[in-house]
Symmetry: C2
Amino acid sequence: MTAKLWCFGESGNAYKAALTLELAGYDWEPVQVAFFSGETRGPDFIGLNEMGEVPVFREGDLTLTQSAVIQLHVAERTGKFLGRDRNEVLRWMFFDNHRLSGQAGPARFLMNFLPAEKRPAGAIDYLQGRLRASYKVLERHLEGRDWVADAEPTIADFACCGYLFYPEPFGFDRADWPRMGAWLDRIAALPGWKHPYDLMPGSPADRA
Amino acid sequence: MTAKLWCFGESGNAYKAALTLELAGYDWEPVQVAFFSGETRGPDFIGLNEMGEVPVFREGDLTLTQSAVIQLHVAERTGKFLGRDRNEVLRWMFFDNHRLSGQAGPARFLMNFLPAEKRPAGAIDYLQGRLRASYKVLERHLEGRDWVADAEPTIADFACCGYLFYPEPFGFDRADWPRMGAWLDRIAALPGWKHPYDLMPGSPADRA
């Protein structure tokens, strides 16, 4: 039975789930969501996920939302990328959700996907400041480490990298964070790795 | 062995862990952190938690950070407030971290704990808009439900309420969200419940 993942290329939160599925060799297929036409705010999508967000995962009668919950399910089901210390893996996934992707996603949206005249400068400055503090934590953590939460890659890596492969500017420059850059290179070298715009349907090019 | 929780009264993230410990009847004691004097940014605290945040939990040689990880540990250790469906509990804890407390904490900080001339209006408007969307999700979810993730209270309730009992204004008015108001009343009626400023040391009154 092929699992379905509701997603779209621009969503780093969906990418975390899609990347985990892909690298774990799961039988899955994407279902493209027309986020930029408002699909996630419509009643059909709210019926699927009351939180009004991608990703949504469905496999038989099991429906899961929140990228981290989907990642955990896939890791447990396949025995891959789970790490040895669940608490250590989970704490970086929560760090990602509230301090890294949780700030990078909105910053990237405001800076790239809103018309220039609607971009709230104060909010963008605020988010970039928060992000710098989070990059600093991760950069320091990666000293002497190859991976975020174990000696091997785990779902915590695939959470924290959620927005960091995208080309659109949102205040992250690898040159400023060399250990993070090397860590992203290690992720991209994993067998089967794909860039978000190659792994999920939809990209800014489609709307150009 | 008495567990220690590094915390301070103003931190809703610490409150989630403290409330879970208290309601589960755990043997614990608070260790006050002087956040407003910069303690969480200093080398001693970074040595304790490289993320530079409260709460930090220590019990013997086990140290845990991230409120949700501490909550999960306490629930598993005591068998209380764990709920029947881990995925459902976790998805609301992640929702809380990135959309509810993750926005309410900064909004409340910027609006109340920064000098008036340093308050970034654009960021405050942005955070309040994000919060309204999150309150809407939770208000809708609570239709016909007493608790967030099960028929009984779980750690997901004690996560989502993290900032909602505080008196300082940050754009949450119970009158606008009646189901959330009734749900908060149910939490406050649980045996042993305490307000954050009664449960943890430190409050704005100490700095007045």
